[in-house]
Structures are given as structure tokens and as C-alpha cells.
Symmetry: D3
């Protein structure tokens, strides 16, 4: 049974709970959860992504030492993905990369639905890095602040449906990816809302899907390429007490 | 527990056995197997792909009627993928599309290792259709006829390792995808061979990996987009007695 | 004098007539016509395309045996193009591939005008396969069912003009390609309608243009590459009595 | 019967003769020939291309006034193509654009065989302008000065065959385009040489093929888009006495 | 102190004045100015671009002989850029190429604001040639004739601001490049107008910026590649008395 | 006079000296220098890049507070570029982005010459992010450890010349960019070495060139787009005492 750990790369406590994960775990999948203690309260910018990465990478190194089989990063900016893959051998998955590839497999094109308009360039850049720029139809934002998303969950879901419709009719989207892990749990309602409008397309909830894909990779014995992500050289890292002094194995 | 069916799109009996599948099934995954009776003995060309598709699509329609949860097509040409997705609502996965996307997630670039040099254009075209042309480093062939692949399995695996090395060193491949489902079962040996040469990269065995990914999609409630793959119109199909007379549901 | 055969890949009789071809034949071009008897009544989906291909390919093999100089497939999905090119040495042209390339030569960008909105993904995928995705401005549909296209030909042509205008003004199209061979014969009226609005651009009627290009290729001694389309291996094809038992020449 | 004029954009007399054209003319195609008197002796650089363009464009304007139906520019740099298309309404074809598109239709990829290595960047740039960069496998040069090409025509053709083989085996070319109109007439010998080596691919001789395609366009009533190539404004042109003082028609 | 010369590639006198340049020159930058006497009165088409190039190239050769350190061409069509770079060793910069690259460095995407809608295809083609097609959000035109731009400079600037806003909100532009050197001097007003609407993005005035970049290149000892732009062969150029008889140095 | 600050994003003292900068400063350019105290000793991996970014961004915020006009990051991984541009309004330039754009302006294609083969994927990814993937001919490494680069500077330069030659002849490079700021100062010798072999192309030394370009941007009043790099929200940043508590100005 694959053990996959979700690493929340922000310092706000209570953002993610074990309860949320319990419905995802199950047949063949054991889940655990941790978060960082050094870095941003939440991630809404490249600036905050940068400050999130060191502690996130250290949590992923810790997960490998704990004997975890795979790790998923709990943020659609995929913070620390490239650096962590160098530092460990177990699979490390970002929900943004994973969701974009699954959406590309299931549809001719996809749109990302996120919270803030300022994130459009970030998602277009990630799509370019992941080689999927040609599949990204658009990035659209709902006009609701993150902290108000759950104030009126019905209104949030209704807004998601109407923005998804705009992406479909105006931008040519054939699949939807949620661009904020804070929207976790809304996929079923959005899919139902679209079906009521006669639109039958996949609505990808990144975290549950990426956790399950991580399990499938573990079962298949697959991890990231060490040619793409070679082990870092051993080197001093002043100011980061938790950073490992060496990566190379040996007596 | 997800029930995934593998559809072998060729008429040669005995190509694939239930025994081969038993090691893949397990935690949360139930597998079944069928094949076509009208079409080519094997698929090594676009000509044969075309003659394989009608019967393959009909087998996939049958699978949905049988209550199967998802289908995987057992050939790296992904025959019938686009047509079958229109005809059914359950997920239909091609091993070529799935493996190329997974390789793109796990590495900066990938090469396809296949049996015949004549298949290079086919894989490059599939990569273009799937939106992954920028990730495909090369297509390389081992010089062993399909029917002789198992004559000396050690020699085949040694050849695969040396061709993989050439793809890595000369073409810049960071991951390997087997380009022939006849190579199923060789991934572990090839990965070991590369590790012995100091190369630690994913070697994707398409059928087992695609079956497991199909299970993860079923668990996530995801299927292909019906905007990309809309249900076909009801229409006469002279000469294909098994073709359904109608797709639309109704009383 | 080049002899080019038009192969209609649907089983509905009377869709295409010798009379329609007579105005295209002429200086240096002899035309003949045939159609399939096994497959869909018409082609409006990938599902139907798949069921059209075996019989279409066999008709193309027959054409080569009949001494025809070149073949044009009478459908904008280009059904059977890749498979047929492997099976024969005479030029085989698809109207979609040919029209998209000519439009790309004559204008900075082009739009495809078709009948059904569901075909957008198909044409975008074909453009990707043919290497012309960067030239395709849009795919737009007139809202008239195929069987009603000729009910009020004036209304159809007026609709085509207005949809062409939208493609030009909103999508930046600089040339128009008809995306349905059922629109054959409407190009002059649409071009006139656009000229009356001050827009002087090529409107490509795919079948007549592709037939003439086939003649020019025959005169130039050119055919498709057998590296791209190598001859299929000799192999059994259960369920397709008409399939050749061998492709290789010999005593 | 379409009247197509070949415009030789260099000032060296005797480069092209009516006799060369006689074998191309025939069924439905009437050919004429002219050349420029102001500009370079030959074209082997962007510098010379620039000095060739004004007189070439004026010759094309003259051709339209002479009642010619279409024009082909006799140089693989396609000098004056964009400017001339603005100035006239009859089709103007460049052999480079036309040959690259035909090669892309007939093969998965193509290589350009030219005389001088310095022309590689030029052909790659033209392929980008024409939207075909993804189809260009390589540009390769034979090491024979233009003026010595005909000294030992057998040696030239043998060299072309061996360079074509290198493009096929090392660069993945599936079709060949001659990158110098001075190689006109060598296609049959090169194709034969490749067939003797078991390679059956199209070898495109740009001028004859482009002349025939121009005829097919005239027969189809097609010309370039005036949205891409709008008529120039009427304007003074000091130093070019032959330039028209107005383009707009009027009483 | 770097000496950079601005070459105005049109024959209308008084288009550009020494006074305009005086505010750009200064710390480390000396500027001079010249224009052509053979060619178009202004450049608004590919036709006029072609007639501008010979004299422009000869002026650039003259500049190198005069001991100038670098040259900037004073037109957003970059006329003569490729040909002149072959003919000289000092840096030759086009404002279109330079501005598009700087805009790509400073923003996720950029739009070109020009005078005439007919120039859209030209700028999209230039972006393709310069390798920046993926960064170009749109080309938009103000509806004011060039000769009327300065009639009501306030109205022109207001129109530029509103068209820039449309490019930002509808096309996703993150930076603005002026597409006409006749707009020189308007950047500050347009940037201020956008700031008043809360939009803080770079507005690139191509000529001043390109002149300063030319100075930075001279200070860095950099010029264009002679592999991309090899010296032309010595050759007769009938009809262009000013063309050099030889490029190669020597006794 | 523009004041540009070079920020060295590693904790090893003495890597960069004021003396090195004195030859670059001069006409119109004032330079200053600082480095980080929290982070990696050097940067040779994505892992180290991640640990370098927080302190580098804080140094850039400090530079703006100090009244500096522009900042250049002293590492070819461009660490902190995206995050810092959000946090400040003064221009922030990365040498990798700047050099790749300049190389693309000066040549048809460019190669990056770096120290370690493991960095190939990093540079290809950066080129994709910067929109220049189509211009990157290759990434090649000299086989000399960073700390031994200066042991035998003549040998290092000779190796650079021979690797540059391989990039030119085998990969088609038309310009060279140094892929390690530790190679600063070697450009003149490499250019001379290539000229001795008859190859006249730009060899870009990223730091001096980027510092001069930063000066030109300051003189032009240009900075990065705040639509691409919007100001971060005010937010707590536990564990980073130096992070600003607010970005928004106000009383």
C-alpha cells in the first residue's frame, strides 16, 4: 500500500485537515499530511512562492527519510518541485503539472479557473515549462477573495460554473482545472452545474487526483528522472540549519 | 474497486494472457481482457491501424455495456482512441498518449524505443496530436523483428539498454517509453541495465502503467471530455452488423 | 493526360455525380468517380471516420490497379489518407491537407468554415498533424444541417458570407477554406459576397482545387514519400475479404 | 489555357532559356520568360536579394499589364514576393514557398539541398515565415560553386545523391527540395540515384513544379489574399522611374 | 564615446531632425542623422519596403566608411536589416527587432500599436522571423492617418491610451511597443495616461531605446554574427552605381 | 548617471570584487556590489537556486530603498528574478534572460557554454520561459570544475574555444553565451580564438553586457511590467525576519 504525503507549503495552520484526506485514501492509498513553519501565510505571488520553497524542500527531504513512498505539494504554483526532485529519489508531484497533463489527455484543450486575475502569467509560464502551452485555452479568475471562498460556498460554486461556461464558449476550453487548492472539494458541484447546462467535460480537482496518480506511480515503480533532476552537490548552506550537509550516500 | 478492461486490437490469438495481467491487478484494480476478431494479425503500419479500428471500437462499446469502468487499448498506435471516446462515456486510454504524458511529467524529455524504424513518423505525429512534440527527444528502433523479440529475451533486453543509452547520450533523452506493447515486462531489466551504467531515469512500460492510471481516473470520477469527443449521430453503417443503431439514450 | 479519381468515402448513393466533375475536368485532366459500399452513410465524427477508412483504402488500392494516375479522397476528414499512402505508389491527396497548405501559401492565415461546431477539434488536430497549426485562425460553423444545405442555397451562401466575415474581422482570417465537401460549388458566390463587402481574399473549394493539384503533381512526376508511408507488411486480415494478401511485387 | 510568366530576378543574360521551359509547357499551360536589367548578376545573399527586388517587382507589374495570368519568380530566395503581391492581383508564386508546402504535403519532413552553406539561415528563416519550420529537417549544401555546377553534371548529380542520403539518414528527411534554381533539371537523376539505394521519396525541382501549380491556381480562380497583401498607397518613388504613379483604378 | 547614426529610409525631407535626437544623446552617446534619396516618400507596405532597401543599405555602408560605430534604421519595418548586416561589420539594429526583444524581457507579452490595420500581418511575420511569435499578444491600430498624427497631438495620445487599454484588457498585453517611428515622443504621455488608469507597464518608444541599446552594444564590443550575415560575394550590380565593387579587404 | 547594483546570490565571500566592475563602469554608468549572507555557497542546481532566492530578493528590496536605479542578479540561473520584480519598481535584470535575448538579436541561433553538463535542462527550461526555445541551438559544457576554472586560465579559454567550435559546426550555433558568471572576463579571448579559426560571431559575457543594458533601460525610463509582476499582498512571513511587512505605499 503506497504511502503518499501531502506537504502544505504555507505557514497558516488549519488550512488543510486530515479529515479532508480521509475520503481520498482507501483502496491501496495511505495518506499523511504536514506543512511548513518558515515562509508565507499563503501563496498568491512569485514572491511568496520563492519564500515558500526552502522549507517545503526540507519537508520533502524529511518525508523521504520517514520512509514515505511519494510526495505531493499542496499548491498550484508547484513550489519547490524542481529543487525537491533533485534532493530526493521518491516521486515528487506538483498538482499543477499533474492536472495540466491529465486535462491534456482527457480533452483537446483546458482552462485553469483560479481566484486572482494576477495569476494568469504564472499559469501560462508553468504551462510553457511543462510543455503544454498549446493545450492551455485560457486562465480565468472568479472575483472572490480566497478567505471569502467558503463564506457562501453555494455562491462560489455558482460563480465557478459561470466562469467555466465563459472559458468553454469564449476560449474553447474542453476541460477545466481548478487553479487554487483552496477550491478542493468543489469539483463535483461544478461538474453537476455544467451537466445541467448540457456540458459534459472533466473538472479536475488537483489535490485528490494528484494524490491518486502518485499512488499509481508508486505501484508502477516510477519516479522522476535523475538526468533532469540530478542530486545536488554537497555544500554549506549558511542560514538554513535544517539543510542536509550531504546528499551522497556512503559510510 | 475499479474494473479496467484491456482490449487487444489484433486478431492473433494468444498475444496477451490473463496471467500477464495478474501481477498488475491488485489493490483496488480488477482487470479483464478481450481482443478483436476482425482486423490485422498485428499492427505495424497506418494501413493496419485503419483496419483495426472498427472492431476495436465495437469491443469498447461492448465493454461499456458490460459495466466495465474504463478501457485501455493494447497497442502503441492507440487505434480507435478518438472514435471510441465519442461512442462511450467511460474513460478510454491509449498507452501511447498516457505514457508520453507521464514521461513528460517525470523528465525534461523522453525517447520512444520501438521495434521498427518505419514507425518514427507515426510516433512523431502522435506526439504532435497529443501536444507533446517539444518533449519528444527521439524515436529509436531495436533491430529485432517482433516475432523474434522473445527468442532470446536477454539479447533483446541488452539491445534495449544500448539503444536507450544512445537516445540518452546522442538525443538528450531523460526518460524512456517503450514503443511496442510486445516489450511488456522488459522495463525492470532495462532500468537495471541503465542503473548499472549510472543512469537513473524512468523506463515506462506502457500497458501496466496505463492500466493503473485508468484505475486512478475511475477513482477520481474523471473521463474524457464530450466536447472533444461528442456522441456520434445515429446513422446507418452498412457492412458493419455490430455497429449500434443508436447512441442516444431514451425509453 | 492525367487521370485522377475521386473516391467518395460514404455509402449514401447519389452524394456526388459525374456531372459535378465535368466542369473541373478539361485541359489535361481526366476525372473518374467511385464510392464505398461498407461504412457510414455520411461522416460527421471520428467514429464514422474510423468505419469509413477500410473500404476507402481498398477503393484506392483498386484505383491503382485500374491504372489511375492519382486519387483524391472526397471528405474533409481525409479518411484513409495515411493508410492508403502506404498501400499504393500513386499520389493520394486529402482535400483538407491540400486546401490548408494552399490557403497558407496564399494568405497570412486562414479559417475553416464548416457545418457543425463539433468539428472544431478535428480540424485543429488535422492542422497540427499537417504542421499548419500556426496558420489556422479559427474554425467556424454555419448553423444549417447538412441535409438542409441545399434547401435554400441562397440562404446557405448568405450565411457562409456572414460567417466568413466574422472569421475575418474577429479571428483575423486572411483566406477561407470550406470545411465540408457538401459545400462544393459555393466558392464563387461566397467570394462575390465578400468582394461586395470590399474583402478580396481566396475562398478555397477543396475538391476542385485538390483535383487540379493532383493533376499538377502527376505532370511533375511527384508522389508521397515512401519513407513517411512505407509499404505495409504482407499479413492476414480476417474479416476483410477484399484486403490484398500481399503488397510486395514479385513473380 | 493559363499563361504563366517566369521572371528571372538577376541581370546575367542567358541564365534561363525558352528551350528549358518548352518541356514544362503543354497541356493547359503556356509559358513566357523575362528577366531584370537592374540588380545583381546572381543571388547568393540577403544583400543581393534586396538589390534584386525593385526591378523584379516592376517586371511583375508589367506582366499583369501584359495580360499574363500568373507569375513565378525564378529564385529560391523568393525575391520580391511580398512586395509584388501587394502591387498586382494575379497570382505571384515563389518557388521556395511553393516547394516547401508541396514537400510538407508529400512527406513527414523535408530537407533543402543547396549550393552554399551560408544559405542555411536564409532557408530556416523562410520556413519560419511560411509557417513550416516544424517540417524542415535540415538545409545541406553540395560543395560545388554555382558556376561549376554544369562543368561535370554527372559529378554534380552524384554529389546531390550523396548529400540527399546524408539528409535522409542523419537528419530524418522524408522529401528533398532543391535549394537553387540552377539545379533545375537534376531531379530525375537524383530520384533515380536514391531509388537505386532503395529510397523512394519525392525530389522536388522547384521551377517546373511551381509553374504547374501556378497553372492549377489560375484554373481554380485563386490568387493571394489582399488582406495579407493590400494594394500599396499611391506615392512618389524618387530614383525609380519605372515605378507606377498610382495603383488604384479609376476613370 | 559611441557614435551611432540613425538612417531614415525614406525620401521625404524633414521627417526627422537633429533636434529630436539631441535629447537622446548625452552620457556616452554621440548621434548623427542621414536619410536616403532614392526610394519611397514613406513606408506603409512591403512594396515600399522593397524600394527602400537598396539606398538604405548603401547609406549603412557609407556610415561604416565614415567611422561610425553603429547604425539604427529609422523605420519599424526594419528595411535593409538583413542585407546591411552582411555588408558591414559594425552593429546594425532595427527598432522593430530591438523593441520586441526588450518588451519580451520586461513583460510576459506585448502588443504593437501602429497606425494602419494593414500592417498586422507584417508585424506578425517580423515577430516570427525574430523568434518572438509566442510573446506577441496583438497588433492594434489607431485610426489616424500618419500625416494627421501631429494635427492634434492630444487627441492622438488619447487614442493611443485607449487602444493600449484594449490591447491590455482584451488581448492580454503586458507591455506596449509603438509600431510607427512617427509616434516618437509619445511614450511618456501614453505611460502617464495608463498610470492614471492604474496600469503600470513599459511603453517602448523604439527609436530612443534602440539608439541607447546600440550604444551599450558598442561599449560591450558586440556586433551581429557573420555566420548569420556573411559578407556578400564581390559581384557586378548593374543599375546601382553606388554599390561597392568589392567587400573583401586587401591591397 | 544610472546607478546599477550587482547582487551576488551566493554566500561565498570574495567571489566578485569591486575591481572587476571598475572596467565596466564609466560613461554614464555607476556600479555597486553586494551579496547574500543566507543561502548556498554557490549555485549549481535548482535546489541551490531555491535556497538562494529569499535572501537575494531581500537584497534587491534593500537596493531600491538605497535609491539604486536598477539591479542585476549575478548568476545565470537568474535566481529571484520573478519574485524580486514583484517586490520592487526599479528594473531587475537576470543575465540569462538578457544574454539570450541579445544573442537572439545578433544571430540566427545561439549556444550556451556552461561548466556542468547537468545544467542543460535548466537552460532549456529558462529559454522556454523566456520565449526563446526556437533560438537555442544547444547547451554545451566544458569539463572543468568551477573551482579549477582559474587554475590554468589559458587551458580554460582553449577549452571554451574548442567547445564553441563544436557548438557552431555540430549544432548550428551563430552566437555564444557564457552559461556561468564565473567565466566573466573570458569573452575577448574566446572571440579572438574563434576569429583565428575564421569564425566571426558575438561571444556574450553576460554580466558586463547586462549591466550596460540596465543602464540603457534606466536612461530610457523603462522597467518591467507590473501586470506581469504585480506587487505582492502584505502578509506575514514567519522565519524571514527581514521580509517587509508591507509593500503598499501610504501614510
Amino acid at each position: 500500500m503506497a504511502h503518499v504525503r501531502l506537504i502544505t507549503p504555507i505557514t497558516t495552520s488549519g488550512f488543510r485537515s486530515e479529515e479532508e484526506l480521509s475520503s481520498i485514501a482507501g483502496s491501496g492509498l495511505r495518506l499523511s499530511l504536514t506543512q511548513i513553519e518558515q515562509g508565507p501565510a499563503s501563496i498568491e505571488s512569485a514572491y511568496e512562492t520563492a519564500f515558500s520553497e526552502p522549507a517545503t524542500i526540507l519537508r520533502i527531504i524529511e518525508a523521504e527519510r520517514d520512509g514515505v513512498d511519494a510526495v505531493v505539494i499542496d499548491c498550484m504554483a508547484d513550489p519547490g518541485l524542481a529543487g525537491a526532485r533533485e534532493a530526493v529519489s521518491i516521486p515528487v508531484l506538483g498538482p499543477s503539472q499533474t492536472s495540466m497533463h491529465l486535462a491534456s489527455m482527457l480533452g483537446h484543450s483546458f482552462s485553469v479557473l483560479t481566484v486572482l486575475p494576477r495569476l494568469r502569467a504564472q499559469f501560462e509560464t508553468l504551462a510553457a515549462v511543462y510543455g503544454l502551452k498549446g493545450k492551455l485555452a485560457s486562465v480565468r479568475a472568479v472575483d472572490i477573495p480566497v478567505l471569502e471562498l467558503e463564506d457562501d460556498i453555494g455562491a462560489t460554486q455558482a460563480k465557478l460554473v459561470s466562469v467555466a461556461e465563459a472559458a468553454i464558449h469564449e476560449d474553447g476550453a474542453h476541460a477545466i482545472v481548478f487553479g487554487c487548492t483552496g477550491l478542493m472539494g468543489c469539483a463535483a458541484a461544478v461538474r453537476t452545474g455544467l451537466l445541467e447546462r448540457g456540458i459534459d467535460i472533466p473538472v479536475i480537482d488537483p489535490i485528490p487526483t494528484t494524490l491518486r496518480l502518485a499512488g499509481a506511480l508508486v505501484d508502477s515503480g516510477l519516479a522522476h528522472s535523475k538526468l533532469t533532476s540530478p542530486t545536488p552537490p554537497d555544500k554549506a548552506m549558511p542560514g538554513y540549519a535544517g539543510a542536509p550537509s550531504r546528499f551522497s550516500s556512503g559510510p
